[in-house]
C-alpha cells in the first residue's frame, strides 16, 4: 500500500511538511521536523531506486487521471538516481546546518529558513520525478523561488548576498521563462504536455520550425539554469554569498536537477533522432563545455575568497558534465550521470569544510586559512581530501568521473579532448594547492584563537569525505546505475 504510493510520497512528504514547519515558532522544532522529513524522503528515494532497478520504470497517475490528460509521475533509473542524489545531500546538509545557520541567519528568521529549505528540497525533487513537462516547470519555480530566498538570507554575513540573489532571480526567471515558452511552443505543435506522449508526437515534426524554436528555447532556458558557460554569471556570487549550509545544498543539487532536465528533454523528449540534436551537441555543447573547463578554472585561480573559487570550479565541473552529454554515447552519458553524483559528493565535502572555516573565522579567504592545518586539522584534512577528489586523484570519485569522460572521448575518436580534460585537471591542482599551501605551509596570523569546528559539522563533512573515497574505490554501484540511466536515455537495450 505504502510502497504503491512511494512516488508521490517522495514529493508530498516534504511539500506538506513545509507549511507545517511554518507554524513552528522555534528554530529547533523546525529543524527537527526538516531533519526527519528529509531523512524519510531519502529512505523513500532509496526504496524507489531499488524498485526501479528491479522492475524498470514506475508510473503513478495523480488524481488517477490517465496519462496525457492528467499528470503522470514516471520514474526510471535516470531520475531515481538524481532523486537519490538530491534527497541524500538534502539530508546530509541538515545536521550540518544547525550550528551554521544559527550563526549565519537572523534569529527571528531561523524557523522559516527551514520552511524555505523544505520547499526548495521538495521543488527540486518534484522537477526531477515528474513525467509531465509543465509540472516540471511548476516545481522548478518552487525550487527557484526558494533558492533565491535562501541565497538572500546570507545578507546577515555579507550584504552583497542581496544583490547576488537579485541577479540570480533575474537570470533564473529568464531561464524559467524560456523553458516555459519552449513548453508552450511544443504544446502548440503537439497538443500534449506528457513527456512520453511528447516524445511520440514529436516524431515526424523534425522540419517543423515551431518545434525548432521550442527546442532552442528549452535548451537555452535550461542551459541558463545549469549555468552553461557563458550564462553562468549568476552562479559564483550566489554560491559565494549564500549561507554556508545553503551553498552546500544548492551546489550539490540545484544544477544537478537542471542537468537532469536537460538530459530528459534532449534525449527522451526530442530524442536521439531529432535532426538538430547532433548539431547542438557538437557545435554548441562541446565548445562551451571546453570553454567552461578552462575559463572558469582559470578564473578560480585568482579568487581570493574560497567559496567563490569553488563556485567557479563548479562552473568548470559543469563543463565536464556537459562535455559528457555532448558525446551522446553510452559512455559519455554514463560519465555525466556518474559525475552528477560524484560532483555532489566532492563539492559537498569542500563547501562543508569551507563553511566550518566561515563559522570559526567569519570568512574563508586565502588569508584566513593561513595556518589552519594545525588549528583546524580535521576541517582542513577534509578540504584536502575533497580537493584531491576534485582534481581527480585515483581512489577518489573525481578520478572515476574523469576516467569515464576520458574513455568517452577516446571512444568517440576525439582524443584531443581527452588531453584537454587532463590539462584542465591540472589547473584544478593549482587552485586547490593555493589553499593547501596557505593552510599547511604558512604561519597563522598573530593572536588568532581558533578552534576546531563543532562535531555536528565535522561528522557530515567527514561522512561525505568517506563517501568520496568509498565510491572512488568501489564505483561498481554508481557506475551500474549511471550506465543503466545512460542506456535508458539513449534508448539502447540494456
Amino acid at each position: 500500500m505504502i510502497a504503491y504510493h512511494l512516488p508521490i510520497l517522495q514529493i508530498v512528504v516534504p511539500l506538506i511538511a513545509a507549511p507545517l514547519s511554518a507554524f513552528c515558532r522555534r528554530a529547533g522544532m523546525a529543524w527537527y521536523l526538516a531533519l526527519i522529513i528529509c531523512a524519510a524522503s531519502f529512505a523513500i528515494s532509496v526504496a524507489l531506486l531499488v524498485r526501479v532497478l528491479d522492475e524498470g520504470h514506475i508510473s503513478y497517475l495523480l488524481g488517477n487521471w490517465a496519462a496525457p490528460w492528467g499528470i503522470e509521475y514516471r520514474i526510471d533509473a535516470v531520475n531515481a538516481f538524481v532523486l537519490l542524489i538530491i534527497s541524500g545531500m538534502g539530508t546530509m546538509v541538515l545536521p550540518y546546518a544547525r550550528v551554521s545557520i544559527a550563526d549565519e541567519i537572523e534569529p527571528h528568521n531561523q524557523a522559516l529558513f527551514y520552511t524555505c529549505y523544505l520547499l526548495c528540497f521538495a521543488g527540486l525533487l518534484g522537477m526531477v520525478i515528474t513525467g509531465d513537462a509543465f509540472n516540471a516547470f511548476v516545481f522548478m519555480e518552487i525550487s527557484s523561488l526558494a533558492t533565491y530566498v535562501l541565497v538572500a538570507l546570507g545578507a546577515k554575513r555579507d550584504r552583497r548576498a542581496l544583490s547576488a540573489a537579485f541577479t540570480y532571480l533575474v537570470m533564473g526567471t529568464i531561464g524559467a521563462t524560456f523553458f516555459v515558452i519552449g513548453i508552450g511552443l511544443v504544446y502548440m505543435v503537439t497538443g500534449t504536455l506528457n513527456m512520453a506522449d511528447l516524445a511520440a508526437r514529436l516524431q515526424g515534426l523534425e522540419q517543423n520550425r515551431t518545434a525548432l524554436v521550442a527546442f532552442a528555447f528549452i535548451v537555452t532556458g535550461i542551459g541558463l539554469k545549469l549555468a552553461l558557460f557563458p550564462m553562468h554569471l549568476w552562479l559564483p556570487n550566489a554560491y559565494a554569498f549564500a549561507p554556508s549550509a545553503v551553498t552546500v545544498f544548492i551546489a550539490a543539487t540545484a544544477t544537478k536537477a537542471a542537468v537532469y532536465l536537460m538530459l530528459r528533454f534532449l534525449f527522451t523528449v526530442f530524442g536521439t533522432d531529432y535532426n538538430v540534436l547532433g548539431l547542438t551537441l557538437t557545435y554548441m555543447f562541446t565548445p562551451l563545455a571546453l570553454a567552461a573547463m578552462f575559463a572558469a578554472s582559470t578564473v578560480a585561480i585568482f579568487q581570493f575568497e574560497i567559496k567563490r573559487m569553488l563556485a567557479y570550479s563548479s562552473v568548470a565541473q559543469l563543463g565536464y558534465t556537459v562535455l559528457g552529454i555532448s558525446f551522446a554515447s553510452v559512455t559519455g552519458l554514463t560519465a555525466t550521470m556518474i559525475h552528477l553524483f560524484n560532483h555532489a559528493l566532492m563539492k559537498g565535502a569542500l563547501f562543508m569544510a569551507v563553511g566550518a572555516i566561515v563559522l570559526r573565522h567569519g570568512a574563508a579567504t586565502i588569508d584566513s586559512v593561513r595556518g589552519l592545518g594545525r588549528t583546524m586539522p580535521w576541517t582542513m584534512a577534509a578540504f584536502v581530501a575533497g580537493g584531491l577528489s576534485l582534481i581527480g586523484v585515483p581512489l577518489t570519485v573525481g578520478f572515476i568521473s574523469k576516467w569515464y569522460l576520458v574513455a568517452a572521448s577516446l571512444e568517440s575518436g576525439r582524443w584531443p579532448i581527452a588531453v584537454l580534460i587532463v590539462l584542465s585537471s591540472l589547473i584544478g591542482v593549482i587552485y586547490i594547492w593555493r589553499v593547501i599551501e596557505a593552510a599547511y605551509l604558512e604561519k597563522p596570523p598573530e593572536g588568532r584563537t581558533a578552534r576546531e569546528a563543532p562535531l555536528s559539522m565535522l561528522i557530515p563533512t567527514w561522512g561525505l569525505v568517506g563517501a568520496n573515497i568509498y565510491f572512488g574505490i568501489d564505483a561498481e554501484l554508481t557506475s551500474r546505475v549511471a550506465g543503466a540511466a545512460a542506456r535508458l536515455l539513449l534508448w539502447v537495450a540494456p
Binding site: A18, P19, L62, C116, T190, G191, T192, R201
Partner: protein, 329 residues
C-alpha cells in the same frame, strides 16, 4: 470581422502602452502605465473568452501589483537612472533574435484553427468528459483543480514560497509603528466613507467568486486576490495599523500555511480510501460528488494562501518606511 477589429485595436493599444513605458523615465508614470497595460491585457483576455485569467490579471496586474510598486517607489527614487551604456548592441541582438523568432512562428497553426494539435489531442476529452467525470460546468476549473490539480497545488506552493520569501526577507525589517503613520488619510472624508461602503460588497463578491468557481468564471486565485484587495484598500485608507488590528501579521502567516496544508491535505485524504493522490472521487458518495467537494476544498485552500500572501506582502512593503503623505500625491 468585428472580432478581428477589436483584437487588433486592443493589441495595438497594448503595443503603444508598452512602447510608452519604455520611453518614460518617470517611474510613477511607468507604474501607472503598467496598470493600464494590465487592464488592456485583461480586456483582451475577456475577448479571448479566458475570463478566469482576465479576472486575475485585472486584480493582480492592475490592482495589487500597482499598489505594491507604488509602495516600492516610496522607498526608492522617482526617476529612472539614464542608461549608461550604448543601446546599439543589445538593440541589434534583440532585433535579430526577434526576426528569427518571427520566422519561426510562420509554421505555427493558425489562430483558432480547429485542426490544430491543441484542439485535437487532449482537449476534446476535457470538453466531452468533464460533465460526466467531474460534474461541473466550468471546464477550466475542472482542468485546473482536478485533471491537472497537482499543477495547481504546485502553483499554490509557488505563491506560498513567495510569501515565505517576503516574510523572511522583508518582515524582519518592519519598523515599529509610530504615531505619524495613523494620520495617513484621516481628512479624506469622502474616501473614508466610500471605502467603508465598498469593502463589504467587495468581500462578498470575493466569496461569490470563490465558491461559484465551479459554475462560472472564478476560483481560489481570483477570489483570494479580490479578498486581499479589499484589505489593502482598507489599509491604504485607514492606515496599516488599523488593518493590522483587524488581521494581525501572525494570523496572516497562519492562513498562508493553512491554505497549502488544506490543499495538500485533501490529496492525502484520498490515500485513506485506497485511491491515488488528489483523487477526489473518494470524498463523496458518488465520484462526481467527491470531485465536487474536493474541488471546492482545494479552491478554498488556494484562496486562503493567495489572499494571505497578498496581504502579508503588502504589510511587509508598506511597513518598510513612512507612509506616503498627502502633499506627495
Amino acid at each position: 470581422m468585428i472580432d478581428t477589429t477589436i483584437n487588433f485595436a486592443l493589441l495595438l493599444f497594448l503595443a503603444a502602452t508598452a512602447f510608452s513605458i519604455l520611453r518614460r523615465t518617470t517611474l510613477f508614470s511607468v507604474v501607472m502605465l503598467s496598470g493600464v497595460f494590465s487592464f488592456v491585457s485583461a480586456l483582451l483576455l475577456v475577448h479571448l473568452d479566458a475570463v478566469d485569467v482576465a479576472f486575475t490579471e485585472a486584480a493582480v496586474g492592475a490592482g495589487i501589483s500597482t499598489v505594491l510598486m507604488l509602495s516600492t517607489l516610496a522607498l526608492t527614487a522617482r526617476h529612472e537612472a539614464p542608461a549608461s551604456r550604448s543601446r546599439a548592441l543589445p538593440l541589434i541582438v534583440v532585433f535579430l533574435t526577434g526576426l528569427a523568432l518571427i520566422y519561426g512562428t510562420l509554421d505555427m497553426p493558425h489562430f483558432g484553427d480547429p485542426s490544430a494539435p491543441v484542439h485535437t489531442h487532449v482537449a476534446p476529452r476535457y470538453i466531452t468528459a468533464t460533465a460526466t467525470e467531474i460534474g461541473i460546468p466550468n471546464i477550466v476549473t475542472a482542468v485546473l483543480a482536478s485533471y491537472r490539480g497537482f499543477d495547481t497545488l504546485g502553483e499554490t506552493t509557488v505563491i506560498f514560497t513567495a510569501g515565505i520569501g517576503v516574510l523572511l526577507l522583508l518582515a524582519g525589517t518592519i519598523r515599529e509603528p509610530t504615531g505619524l503613520r495613523i494620520t495617513a488619510m484621516d481628512h479624506h472624508l469622502v474616501l473614508r466613507v466610500v471605502t467603508k461602503v465598498l469593502i463589504g460588497p467587495i468581500l462578498l463578491f470575493a466569496l461569490y467568486v470563490q465558491f461559484h468557481g465551479d459554475y462560472g468564471p472564478g476560483g481560489g486565485f481570483q477570489a483570494g486576490v479580490i479578498f486581499a484587495a479589499a484589505f489593502i484598500i482598507y489599509a491604504l485608507v485607514f492606515g496599516l495599523e488599523a488593518a493590522r488590528r483587524a488581521v494581525p501579521g501572525r494570523a496572516v502567516r497562519w492562513i498562508l500555511a493553512a491554505g497549502v496544508l488544506m490543499y495538500g491535505g485533501v490529496g492525502v485524504v484520498s490515500f485513506f480510501f485506497g485511491k491515488n493522490y488528489l483523487d477526489y472521487s473518494a470524498l463523496g458518495a458518488t465520484a462526481t460528488a467527491g470531485q465536487h467537494l474536493g474541488i471546492l476544498l482545494v479552491e478554498f485552500g488556494v484562496g486562503m494562501t493567495v489572499s494571505a500572501v497578498m496581504v502579508s506582502t503588502y504589510y511587509a512593503f508598506a511597513g518598510q518606511n513612512r507612509p506616503i503623505g498627502d502633499e506627495e500625491w
